[in-house]
């Protein structure tokens, strides 16, 4: 079923290969940015993918890009389709789809705050959402190290020390080696 939908859309929107590896009823497909809106509209209005399950990002820092994942659900046929969109990591500006799904505005607010991906035109997108008084880089980016940040902000309780059995045993058994 997914294949049929894909075949209908593939050529018109220059979709990437259909990735159906994970489970039945779920597929992912790569999408080019200029086709995002037409594909989403078509999927929603024609193919019955009326439900936006989630919109999130993956930071592929080694490739210098963000992957935006739009996960849609066709409730009638029980299909989940994930659209993967590449964004340049250094120029992270996405396209808002809050007019297609109002609920996307919330997701976009979160992406703005947590990944620093801008969505111009999305309602209240620049308001603080989850964090308050955050001044560091967006925390979900891969180069943000949460442990390092935490240790530089909140000190650990003192008096804890651990030993590595490998080193410790050498010290005991072969103090001179």
């Amino acid at each position: 079923m997914m294949q049929a939908i894909y075949d209908r859309l593939k050529d018109r929107f220059q979709l990437g290969a259909l990735d159906v590896r994970s489970r039945k009823g779920l597929a992912f497909v790569d999408l080019r940015r200029e086709f995002l809106r037409p594909v989403l509209t078509e999927l929603r209005d024609v193919e019955g993918f009326t439900h936006l399950i989630l919109l999130t990002a993956v930071d592929w820092i080694e490739d210098e890009r963000f992957q935006l994942t739009y996960l849609l659900n066709n409730r009638q046929k029980n299909l989940d389709l994930g659209l993967r969109l590449r964004l340049d990591r250094n120029l992270a500006i996405g396209e808002t789809i809050h007019d297609l799904w109002p609920t996307a505005a919330t997701y976009q607010r979160e992406l703005r705050e947590m990944f620093g991906i801008a969505f111009p035109g999305s309602p209240r997108v620049d308001e603080e959402f989850i964090l308050e008084g955050w001044t560091d880089m967006p925390p979900y980016r891969r180069d943000f190290d949460t442990l390092a940040y935490s240790q530089q902000t909140h000190a650990d309780r003192e008096g804890r020390e651990t030993s590595d059995p490998r080193e410790f045993m050498k010290q005991i058994l072969y103090p001179k080696d």
Binding site: T162, S163, D164, P165, R166, F168, I172, L173, D177
Partner: protein
């Protein structure tokens, strides 16, 4: 909205007469049997492997030293910080020995936030005796318990020849086996050479064999050899041993050497691009100890010459270990790498005869004595002076050298160590070739509970048709008293051993004389230990040196009482390849320090 809707809510009032469901005394209420409460640790069982620390995603566990650690553990015990713990019990699930458990106690309060830390089993707590609480069901599930079977040649195929028995792991098997490692590192300290075992096992999982080989050569130039015949002390310390088989560390090491093409070895091991120091070192004996020292010293830029009495280098590895366990070509490959580092090996040169010790001393900045243990010991029981009574090391040497050895149909071996197994199995092969059948009896002093030889050796020997008897003390080699064959051996008389050591721990066997056995055989082989041939030292040096129970006395670094002379390997530490390798490293390190100091003094 009906009238009923107005009235029906009032039915709730019927509850006013019921007894409240409140728990009368909630403070003493016991949690469920499976409840995950505070931790307990069976301190006797725990080996301090730190798997619990590794799996704890809250960094709640510290490994802290405890007083009086028992033998074979790391001396560390987990300390739990209840300012971190989330009671997920992953630590219990991963625990390699099953020592860490949970009680079903759950009440702990304090006004001091630093108080919520304790070492289960060491710091006494009210729940230590609690019987209930979380236990993992069944065996360990979070890391495998069973060793991947090593494929071996079938007994009937292998018995007639000296081909190598084990096949080695293929990639899939090795990865599966390597996957079981929990990277605790107990093995590292147990290994005399402190090989980075968890690290090289990790390279197998990651498929980075070249790095693995590099790690092997960092601490052991005889990786091919050790991958086959190492006594693997590491496996006796392996954390996985407690609730399953230990990791097959030796086979994994071999797997790495198998996977890397030999022509890449020297590149990977790397020839350090050091300026030559011009300092010279002579090493006597091309066994594992001597060659390891040579390898290290050559890599430090010294000129090293190794003098070997026999035709080929390798020492006991070549002349003591039969080929079906250690093919000569493996040994040759290891030695080849060592030679590629610039080590000169002169074979067929006997010190004391061809070159004198004095000359060596004069020509070199340092001399290493690594002569091994090449003379067999005798039981000195009546009849043991008979010509048909052979010594195992001697016989093994002759087999390797290709000399003709007598192969009677029935052979009795005295001894229960690995050398006994080696000679028994070698003789069995010769018997098979010569007579088509095996007739070997091994009589060991020790009982099977305290057997000296490796278990797999025993198993394989039995598979090959060798009879092994435990707790037999040799009393007399029975010879033919008269007739044509007078003086020929016809068997061995043994008594059952009650105890080997007396209460002071000295060797003093007690026998049950009522349980006497006679083992038929036309040849008796003594495999009860070896000694060094120290005659090459010469009288003067022998007197100058300090001795310790027949062996040259050395300090921790392998230095003898003579400042120019170091000693390493079997001749000072007893027979063991990996110990000899460790010795070699130590000696090399020590020599280098001295030489550097000499250089600096000169400059």
């Amino acid at each position: 909205m009906s009238f009923k809707d107005v009235l029906s809510p009032f039915t709730a009032w019927k509850h006013v007469l019921e007894t409240p469901v409140t728990i009368k005394d909630p403070l003493t209420r016991e949690a469920a049997d499976r409840y995950r409460g505070f931790h307990k640790n069976d301190i006797e069982l725990c080996i301090g492997c730190s798997s619990c620390e590794a799996i704890c995603q809250n960094a709640a566990i510290d490994m802290v030293p405890v007083k009086d650690p028992k033998e074979g553990d790391s001396g560390l015990r987990p300390q739990i910080d209840y300012g971190r713990c989330c009671w997920c019990a992953l630590c219990v699930d991963i625990c390699m020995t099953g020592s860490l458990t949970m009680s079903n106690e759950y009440i702990w309060f304090d006004e001091d936030p630093d108080a919520f830390r304790f070492i289960p089993g060491v710091d006494a707590k009210s729940w230590d005796s609690s019987e209930k609480g979380y236990r993992r069901e069944g065996g360990r599930r979070l890391s495998g318990t069973e060793r991947v079977e090593m494929r071996e040649m079938e007994p009937d195929l292998r018995i007639g020849n000296f081909d190598e028995i084990v096949a080695g792991y293929d990639r899939a098997e090795a990865v599966l086996e390597a996957d079981r490692c929990v990277e605790c590192g107990l093995c590292v300290a147990t290994c005399p050479a402190h090989m980075d075992i968890p690290d090289y096992i990790k390279t197998i999982r990651e498929g980075d064999y070249e790095h693995g080989l590099e790690l092997l050569y960092n601490s052991n130039p005889f990786s091919e050899v050790c991958g086959r015949v190492c006594t693997h002390n590491c496996e006796t310390a392996c954390a996985a041993r407690h609730e399953g088989d230990p990791i097959a560390i030796r086979w994994l090491k071999r797997h790495i050497t198998d996977q890397v093409p030999y022509d890449r070895y020297v590149d990977i091991v790397g020839k350090p691009d050091l300026a030559k120091t011009g300092q010279k070192i002579a090493i006597i004996g091309a066994g594992p100890g001597g060659l390891t020292a040579a390898f290290d010293l050559a890599r430090m830029g010294h000129a090293v010459t190794v003098y070997e009495e026999k035709e080929k280098p390798g020492g006991m590895m070549r002349y003591g270990i039969p080929e079906y366990r250690l093919p000569y070509e493996s040994l040759d490959r290891d030695i080849g790498v060592i030679e590629a580092m610039g080590v000169k090996i002169k074979c067929g040169v006997r010190i004391g005869k061809d070159i004198s010790m004095e000359k060596l001393k004069a020509d070199n900045d340092a001399v290493v004595l690594a002569i091994g243990l090449h003379l067999g010991r005798s039981t000195r029981v009546p009849g043991s002076e008979s010509p048909d009574v052979e010594k195992a090391v001697e016989l093994l040497r002759r087999i390797t050298a290709g000399e003709e050895v007598p192969v009677p149909k029935k052979v009795v071996v005295i001894g229960g160590g690995n050398v006994a197994m080696d000679i028994a199995r070698s003789m069995a092969r010769l018997q098979k070739q010569r007579h088509g059948e095996v007739g070997i009896t091994v009589t060991a002093l020790e009982s099977f509970d305290h057997f000296l030889a490796d278990e797999e050796e025993v198993v394989e020997s039995r598979e090959e048709g060798i009879e092994i008897l435990d707790s037999r003390g040799p009393q007399e080699v029975i010879t033919v008293k008269s007739g044509k064959n007078k003086g020929k051996v016809k068997g061995l008389r043994t008594w059952r051993v009650d105890s080997i050591f007396d209460e002071k721990g000295r060797f003093n066997p007690h026998y049950d004389e009522g349980d006497e056995m006679v083992h038929d055989g036309e040849m008796v082989i003594e495999a009860i230990g070896q000694v060094s041939d120290v005659s090459l030292l010469g009288e003067k040096l022998t007197e100058a040196l300090e001795w310790n129970r027949g062996r040259v006395k050395i300090d921790h670094d392998g230095r003898t009482s003579e400042p120019w002379l170091w000693a390493a390997g079997d001749c000072v530490k007893g027979p063991d390849v990996i110990n000899a390798v460790a010795d070699g490293h130590r000696v090399a390190q020590s020599i280098n320090q001295v030489l550097v100091a000499m250089r600096e003094a000169k400059a």
